[in-house]
């Protein structure tokens, strides 16, 4: 089945809408390769094709949804019937409705080309070689590397199509691939681990040296790490950590959270919610972002949405439903977690505007700071509704810009509200990473560190 066949299939489903019924079909096809290496051997090689369909039916202002992991015509027909049946059990909501040409409003999708054939046509043997090489190079890089916990290569080529009974249609397709390694280092003081990742749209984008360098350096520089005593301290977040923290914050920009009283930003538009250096945009039209997409999950062209401008809360993200209910237009921010659920609202490419100075300069701007290399318990210790924020951290002390003793088994705590106001500087090292947010080195003037 080719791309246009996927669209053809969703059109067929949408065309089966009965009078008074709105029907939307979303179809997905993904081809994936996953290679795991251990001990110089291929531990596993997975080649897979995934197909699925999700169908939404709205009738008399009630919504039902059904999905299936197959595009077989018989299964698709059953899924449509199931979605219809489910609609009878939802409660009516006057704002329910699918995207119409009026919601699209003549918007033209960004001219994004997110597909690289090499991910699809490169033979598995060559991908295996890349994965074997990264493991071997990780081991060889430093005598303190005693093993490689995991190393591998993964890719995905996905195509989606959407059509609804109002004639709104869209197709997205993209490729991604990544190479990673986790080094185990030990110099007699105990084991430390370090993670290295390189990701891109094409295999040619992958940088083995970067993966190996990060994995080994990150593990080795933590050797001998110990907990330190509790204190209030300036904290520097590594780009990978910044990405994760932005991910936690993202639901506060969600129009649905705002309408339902679950956003710490609700009712604060136009207010100062962050330090003046903070500028946050969700921009899925930027091809460099891994979350880039031409259309959102309801068939609306995506757009650049400013969220915080110079520290002031600018606005929220909406899909068709939340936009109508809030009395504004959709911002093209419908997202789905696969074909198994109806579209919600979410970010795709959250970016913190980078500053002018290199990370080294930012580090040197405070006499003492804790550099956070990696965090744990991000979901168990943070709450985007209350803003409570407390996570496990490991990293290094920094004195006058120089990395000093390594630190592990400590927590850093604050609230999301406080942290935004305490952002002293964003470095210039904007880092595009897989996921819905982009990283950069960030200096936070004060957090509470708990430790020994």
């Amino acid at each position: 089945m080719s791309d246009s066949d996927l669209l053809e299939l969703t059109r067929g489903v949408a065309g089966a809408a009965r009078p008074g019924e709105e029907v939307e079909a979303y179809a997905l096809r993904t081809r994936e390769t996953d290679i795991e290496i251990f001990g110089g051997e291929v531990e596993s090689l997975t080649t897979a094709g995934i197909e699925g369909i999700g169908i939404r039916v709205i009738v008399d202002h009630c919504q039902g949804y059904a999905s299936a992991g197959s595009l077989d015509p018989g299964v698709v027909e059953e899924t449509l019937q199931e979605a219809r049946d489910n609609a009878a059990f939802g409660a009516p909501d006057e704002w329910y409705g699918l995207a119409t040409p009026n919601d699209v409003d003549g918007a033209i999708p960004a001219p994004l080309d997110l597909w690289r054939d090499d991910v699809v046509v490169t033979p598995a043997d060559e991908k295996v070689r890349l994965a074997l090489d990264v493991e071997r190079a990780t081991k060889a890089r430093d005598t303190r590397v005693r093993g490689v916990e995991a190393a591998g290569y993964g890719d995905a080529a996905s195509e989606t199509a959407l059509a609804n009974s109002h004639g709104v249609e869209s197709c997205n397709r993209r490729t991604t691939c990544s190479l990673y390694s986790v080094a185990l280092a030990d110099d007699g003081t105990g084991t430390q681990t370090g993670y290295g990742l390189s990701a891109g749209r094409a295999i040619a984008d992958l940088n083995q040296d970067e993966v190996v360098g990060d994995a080994v350096d990150r593990a080795c520089r933590l050797l001998g790490a110990t907990p330190i005593s509790g204190r209030r301290i300036a904290v520097v977040l590594d780009p990978l950590v910044t990405r994760s923290v932005l991910g936690v914050l993202s639901s506060a920009f969600n129009g649905e959270s705002v309408l339902k009283g679950r956003s710490l930003f609700a009712g604060r538009e136009g207010e100062k919610v962050a330090a003046p250096v903070v500028d946050i945009v969700d921009d899925p039209t930027d091809a460099r972002a891994f979350g880039a997409a031409r259309y959102d999950s309801e068939g609306i062209p995506t757009r650049r949405n400013p969220l915080i401008v110079d520290g002031v809360l600018h606005g929220f993200l909406h899909n068709v439903y939340t936009g109508r209910r809030a009395g504004v237009r959709t911002t093209g921010s419908a997202v789905r977690g696969g074909y198994g659920s109806a579209p919600g609202v979410g970010v795709r490419a959250l970016v913190l505007r980078p500053g002018d100075r290199a990370p080294e300069t930012v580090l040197a701007s405070v006499p003492e700071a804790f550099y956070v290399q990696s965090v744990s318990g991000l979901h168990s210790g943070t709450n985007p509704i209350s803003g409570d924020f407390s996570i496990g951290a490991e990293g290094l002390m920094v004195r006058t810009g120089v990395f000093a003793e390594p630190v592990r088994e400590v927590t850093i705590a604050s609230t999301l509200q406080r942290m935004l106001l305490d952002i002293a500087e964003v470095a210039s090292d904007l880092t595009y990473l897989p996921g819905a947010a982009t990283g950069a080195t960030v200096l936070i003037s004060e957090m509470t560190l708990s430790g020994a």
Binding site: E43, N86, G381, S386, D388
Partner: protein, 462 residues
């Protein structure tokens, strides 16, 4: 599920390039869920996933492919793809005659979810909303969720194994937001069991909702959590996840064989306080992580991991066990047919001791009392782990005093195991989802009320 002939011929195709073992895993999963938010049922969602995963093992290499097409041709293509990934000779393995083994069922399912009218599932949700809002005007948002899944699996391998299981799970969840002068706070409660709609004979949606609402309301008065090292009392059921993280993951044989666990090479050694006996029990009736067979066809069993503080065994799946020339402990699990199995926990319990829970609290001069945890994470190679507390109180002078705001606790597995000073004579379990290498599976954990001498509490107060 597939016919014997088709399973046999698929295994033959999988071994056409050689290999030591081939396996076909067939899954047919139906699920339904409904969400209540903002005072009404948002929608009912149904899902259907059906397919097969085929793996071929040759030496240390596994080739894996999966397909949603269960026709002769679809299975053959997947078998060839898996065979290609593990090619390179080593042939001669014959598919042994498939022989079905009767498997004891951990418990019976009385009301399969697909036999229950949708209207009845939806009605439960409104009761939760009413009950939560009745707890106080400060409850400003209530989200309730109903979810069930009926998963039929079939496993056949070239050693002649043939086994089937019929797994049903039902869960009910409520999240409340309370709004006060200090901002918003949340409360969450989500009981689940591996049974059908009879869950609601013992779980009252209104009671679940009241518990979530009270938690959110309590937190409105919470003081910032302390920062620093303090004694920690874990209420029964609240702290099983601590042991899941502190040592459970580190006792999974895949980490052990990669020399990426702090517990490598420690069988027979005292790794915990003598009061600690830890089991992983996939047979515990009706529990969230309970199975008749694991996803490699092995009948579930109760495995003692730590006995009176001494490490007795790790948890094993088929591949890791074959490599060591021993048998699996039935801990080979996979999220779906699209995933490779790996070593996973089921229901991980710290067994009860002899102390009175009230005495445990009274023994603490200044510390914290954890009533609900929100999950955690561990690095098995270093043993460092965290878990978040979502409901906790200060203990001052042996008495429970102020509620404290959510915070993370951090510790090192081997250190914390040695600091289990008192173990209570009560017991409760907790329902959760465990993530590992991108796969999520249902697990439970459980423990009596107990005292950990000291852990680092990651709050913001001095």
């Amino acid at each position: 599920m597939l016919e014997l002939d088709l399973l046999g011929s698929t295994l033959e195709h999988a071994l056409r390039n050689g290999g030591d073992l081939a396996e076909v895993f067939v899954e047919d999963r139906r699920s339904s869920s409904a969400r209540f938010d903002d005072g009404r049922v948002e929608e009912l969602v149904s899902g259907r996933e059906r397919g097969a995963g085929i793996r071929v093992v040759r030496g240390d290499t596994t080739g894996f492919a999966h397909t949603a097409d269960l026709s002769v041709g679809g299975l053959q293509d997947a078998a060839h793809a898996a065979a290609a990934a593990a090619r390179g000779g080593g042939g001669g393995t014959r598919v042994a005659a498939l022989k079905s083994q009767p498997v004891p069922r951990p418990h019976e399912i009385s009301v399969a979810p697909e036999t229950v009218e949708k209207r009845r599932k939806v009605e439960l949700l409104a009761r939760a909303d009413d009950a939560a809002r009745a707890e106080g005007a400060a409850i400003t948002s209530v989200t309730a969720g109903y979810a069930d899944a009926h998963r039929r699996i079939q496993v056949a391998n070239s050693d002649g194994l043939l086994a089937e299981d019929d797994q049903v799970r039902t869960r009910f969840s409520v999240q409340c937001v309370a709004t006060g002068d200090t901002g918003m706070q949340t409360g969450y409660e989500a009981p689940g069991r591996s049974i059908g709609f009879e869950l609601f004979d013992e779980v009252d949606p209104a009671e679940v909702a009241r518990a979530a609402a009270r938690r959110a309301l309590t937190l409105l008065d919470a003081i910032p959590a302390p920062s620093g090292r303090l004694p920690v009392v874990l209420r029964r059921g609240a702290g099983g996840v601590l042991f899941h993280e502190a040592c459970g993951h580190g006792l999974e044989a895949d980490h052990i064989l990669k020399d990426a666990s702090v517990f490598t090479g420690q069988v027979g050694e005292q790794v915990a306080a003598p009061l600690v006996t830890l089991v992983d029990d996939g047979t515990y009736a009706r529990e969230w992580g309970t199975l008749a067979i694991d996803d490699e066809g092995r009948p579930a069993q109760r495995n003692v991991l730590i006995q009176d503080g001494v490490l007795t065994d790790y948890m094993w799946d088929l591949l890791r066990a074959r490599k060591e020339g021993r048998s699996s402990t039935a801990n080979g699990r996979r999220q779906t047919y699209r995933h490779l199995p790996m070593v996973r926990m089921t229901n991980t319990f710290l067994l009860k001791g002899e102390s009175d829970p009230d005495d445990i609290i009274r023994s603490v001069e200044r510390g914290i009392y954890c009533v609900q945890l929100g999950g955690g994470q561990v690095n098995p190679a270093t043993g460092d782990f965290v878990f978040g507390v979502t409901e906790a109180y200060m203990i001052e002078g042996g008495e429970i005093t102020s509620p404290i705001r959510a915070a993370q606790l951090i510790g090192n597995g081997p250190d914390v195991l040695r600091m289990v000073d008192i173990v209570g004579n009560d017991f409760e379990t907790w329902t959760g989802m465990c993530g590992k290498n991108g796969q999520s599976v249902p697990v439970s954990s459980g423990q009596p009320t107990l005292l950990v001498r000291e852990m680092t509490v990651g709050g913001t107060a001095a």
